[in-house]
């Protein structure tokens, strides 16, 4: 078993440096400023985000950091296999994300400080299609290709404090940064006569937010958690020129969790994110609205294998994606499965989850299969 764990760990680690630029393209989920990854650790993703408010590895509720123990370092890789169905055609794409990297440590007996870097909105995609255009009165075959790389990231500095055995609180400052590097080309079948458009632009983001949260145990085995993020000013720069002003989205999330079954957790979570505050950052054509997310999930203890603890998780979630397309908003239903095991005498854990998402907007359909593999070390 130890050999198996070691081999699995090596394989997971090997995937990280090899993971290249991603492949995606025209899809429902990457409209607007991108796809909200949820900032979920593999553990939370295994319950379709139901555990997110009490999960130390998911940088949402700063109060949850105290659950990490003495210290924590975690990172993950999340490939998504996406299938878009449009007018009888199917397009398969793949995108790989590294949505959360988190590090933190205890401060004194009651405090915990953490820094994390996570993806708020991922905007990595390629798109290419062929058409014909009229140039100087002649129809010419042409290929339009676009490539966008980048994201709006959430760099968080968080602090948690245990007020009592039944109440812990936290606060955090968020710097919302990142950029989309965008390549646009239009090339022609006759390249000797026609010159190609090759435009590279950068859309950079800057903004801030503060957040606060709590985790409370009002009754035995009942855990209530809630967090609030208040977005500050946010702006975009187009090729180094200030382009637009807006505000970072507010978010309010809460969950009810029950751990009455030894080694297990049952969770229900509701979250509301005010994405519409980002509207002024885009053009008038941007279709954006606030989104509500409801999730329920279970994290149950599995059998020990040669002294190694295992966990199994599942969950479901429904939510709207913030950015619409062709006048319709995109809804997403997700079912998740996951698991984890602890090794190295409890100092490390390897978690994996598999989410299956169904998205739709009008007649358009998209399926996404998201794998998340993460390593957490608690030295």
């Amino acid at each position: 078993m130890r050999r198996l764990l070691l081999a699995t760990l090596v394989a997971a680690l090997s995937a990280v440096p090899l993971a290249g630029p991603l492949a995606a393209q025209g899809a429902l989920s990457i409209q607007g400023f991108g796809y909200p990854t949820g900032q979920l650790s593999p553990r939370a993703a295994g319950t379709a985000s139901a555990l997110a408010e009490i999960d130390a590895g998911s940088p949402l509720n700063p109060a949850a950091l105290l659950g990490a123990g003495k210290s924590i370092f975690s990172f993950q890789v999340d490939p998504e296999y996406r299938q878009v169905k449009l007018a009888g055609q199917t397009v398969n794409t793949t995108t790989v994300r590294f949505p959360v990297i988190l590090v933190g440590t205890r401060v004194g007996a009651r405090g915990f400080i953490s820094g994390s870097f996570s993806t708020l909105l991922d905007r990595t995609w390629d798109a290419a299609y062929e058409d014909s255009v009229s140039v100087s009165g002649q129809r010419v075959g042409s290929t339009v290709a676009t490539r966008v790389r980048g994201a709006i990231n959430d760099a968080r500095l968080a602090f948690a404090w245990q007020l009592s055995e039944k109440l812990q609180v936290g606060a955090a400052f968020h710097a919302l940064t990142g950029a989309n590097r965008m390549h646009l080309t239009r090339s022609f079948s006759d390249s000797t006569t026609y010159g190609a458009l090759n435009q590279v632009t950068t859309l950079a983001y800057g903004g801030s937010a503060v957040s606060a949260g709590l985790v409370a145990l009002p009754l035995p085995h009942l855990i209530l958690a809630a967090s609030l993020r208040l977005g500050g000013a946010m702006s975009t720069r187009y090729n180094d020129s200030l382009a637009t002003h807006g505000k970072a989205p507010n978010r309010l999330g809460a969950s009810v969790n029950f751990d009455g079954i030894p080694g297990s957790m049952l969770s229900v979570r509701v979250s509301r994110e005010q994405w519409s505050r980002m509207g002024p950052l885009g053009t008038a054509a941007l279709l954006v609205h606030d989104a509500t997310e409801i999730a329920a999930g279970v994290d149950v203890a599995g059998p020990k294998v040669q002294g190694t603890a295992t966990q199994f998780r599942f969950g479901a979630r429904t939510r709207d994606l913030p950015f619409g397309v062709n006048g319709s908003f995109v809804s997403e239903q997700t079912f998740a499965l996951g698991g984890g095991l602890t090794f190295a005498r409890g100092w490390a854990s390897l978690d994996a989850s598999l989410q299956r998402a169904q998205r739709k907007a009008g007649a358009l359909r998209e399926q996404g299969t998201m794998l998340s593999v993460g390593l957490t070390v608690r030295p």
Partner: protein, 428 residues
């Protein structure tokens, strides 16, 4: 048993997870089916415009390639319309020889002397018979004095001639040379400068190979009856001009135009080709707004051809454009029109026409505009100019003319441009 099953299940789960994560690293991108429906903001409009006037300056320059650098001598005798002759200089005849295993001694005889020239029949025009005449055109006049040379094509200077039927004309021609006449040249240290002229039973034109084509003419003669002594072979050589010395190389063999009866170009035309060959120099005035903030997709130079009636009017010729590599520091247009970016670079297009044709001709120069844009503002930026020249420049009598910038607006050179304005792409 349960533990064993669990171990196997965990093995499958985590190895599959790791493999899937690895597999995501090299996914193939399938393009396009979801676009443009799901790729809003990908509209890339293309605009058209015609720039006229577009030339800051244009002119026709005569005398290309420079004297002696032609890839052949285009001999022609076309009645009273075109007369082109050739000159081959042998300024250093061999005056001493050394028999095998013996000392050097002066040449005292020149037996079986011949002048051998190589003929290129490409695009030739041959009547039933052609008389090839070789004249002694040695003169003390300046090298550039063609009139003095032409004046020596007279009967008393004729030293050899051959009359051949069309079928007898092949790739080589031998003129017999009088041994006594040649010996006199050798013993007096005189120069042998041969003028070649054609006289046909009808219009005639063909080309002589030159040093530049690798098949030079030569004088051959025997200086001894001893078969062990090899035949003397004299290659073209010119002792003048003394300055610049390199110019003497060009004067080893060259063409002389005795007559070209085409009408003058006038002040509303540009010309390419003919003999002596002409080049058209076009300097552009491209609006900066077009280059600064747009991507030029297509740029077509449109020229209106003027029909030319005369010799070779129906022969198709190829005119290509070459970008000028000379910077604006070089103000001599003749030199600027020689300092060119190699053919095919940035201007890959060409025009194939006959002199008698008319109408609008197009030359694609889009790549060149891209280069000009990239070099704008640099001190070493080349002139924004192109030169139009014929592919077989100086080897063909056909001359193609176009209206220039001083002609009526409808026929003057213009530039049709298709461009893409800067696209605000990627802002949702």
């Amino acid at each position: 048993m349960t533990r064993l099953l669990l171990r196997r299940a965990l093995s499958v789960l985590f190895v599959a997870s790791a493999a899937a994560a690895l597999g995501a690293c090299n996914e193939h991108l399938d393009a396009g089916s979801a676009c443009p429906s799901l790729c809003p903001g990908l509209s890339v409009p293309i605009k058209d415009t015609v720039l006229s006037p577009v030339l800051a300056f244009d002119t026709t320059l005569v005398g290309y390639p420079s004297v002696g650098t032609e890839l052949g001598i285009p001999l022609a005798s076309r009645g009273d319309t075109l007369d082109v002759r050739g000159v081959i200089r042998f300024d250093s005849l061999v005056t001493f020889f050394a028999p095998p295993a013996d000392t050097s001694r002066p040449v005292t005889q020149a037996d079986t002397a011949i002048l051998r020239v190589r003929i290129n029949l490409t695009q030739s025009r041959l009547p039933a018979s052609v008389r090839f005449e070789a004249y002694d055109v040695d003169t003390i006049a300046d090298d550039g004095n063609t009139a003095a040379v032409l004046a020596l094509f007279r009967p008393d200077r004729l030293f050899s001639a051959r009359t051949l039927t069309r079928a007898e004309i092949t790739d080589s021609l031998i003129f017999p040379i009088s041994s006594g006449w040649l010996m006199q040249k050798i013993q007096t240290g005189a120069r042998l400068r041969v003028g070649i002229r054609l006289v046909g039973s009808g219009p005639v034109s063909l080309r002589l190979h030159t040093i530049e084509t690798g098949l030079q003419s030569e004088i051959r003669y025997y200086v001894s009856t001893d078969t062990a002594v090899k035949q003397i072979i004299v290659a073209p050589y010119s002792k003048t001009p003394l300055e610049p010395a390199l110019l003497a190389y060009d004067y080893r063999d060259y063409a002389v135009v005795a007559r070209n009866a085409l009408p003058a170009i006038g002040n509303q035309a540009l010309a390419t080709g003919g003999v002596p060959a002409r080049r058209t120099y076009l300097r552009f005035n491209i609006p900066q707004w077009l280059l600064d903030s747009n991507t030029v997709v297509r740029a077509t130079l449109q020229l209106t051809q003027i029909p030319m009636r005369g010799f070779d009017q129906g022969d198709s010729v190829t005119i290509h454009g070459q970008a000028v590599a000379a910077t604006s520091l070089i103000t001599d247009l003749y030199r600027s029109s020689q300092i060119l970016i190699p053919q095919g670079m940035f201007v890959g297009d060409s025009i194939r026409v006959a002199p008698a044709d008319s109408g609008v001709r197009s030359l694609e120069i889009n790549s060149l505009l891209t280069v000009w844009k990239s070099q704008a503002g640099t001190a070493e930026a080349p002139q924004r100019a192109i030169v139009l020249l014929q592919t077989e420049e100086g080897l063909h009598g056909a001359e193609v003319r176009f209206f220039n910038a001083r002609a009526a607006a409808a026929v003057r050179p213009r530039l049709r441009v298709s461009y893409i304005p800067r696209v605000t792409f990627g802002v949702p």
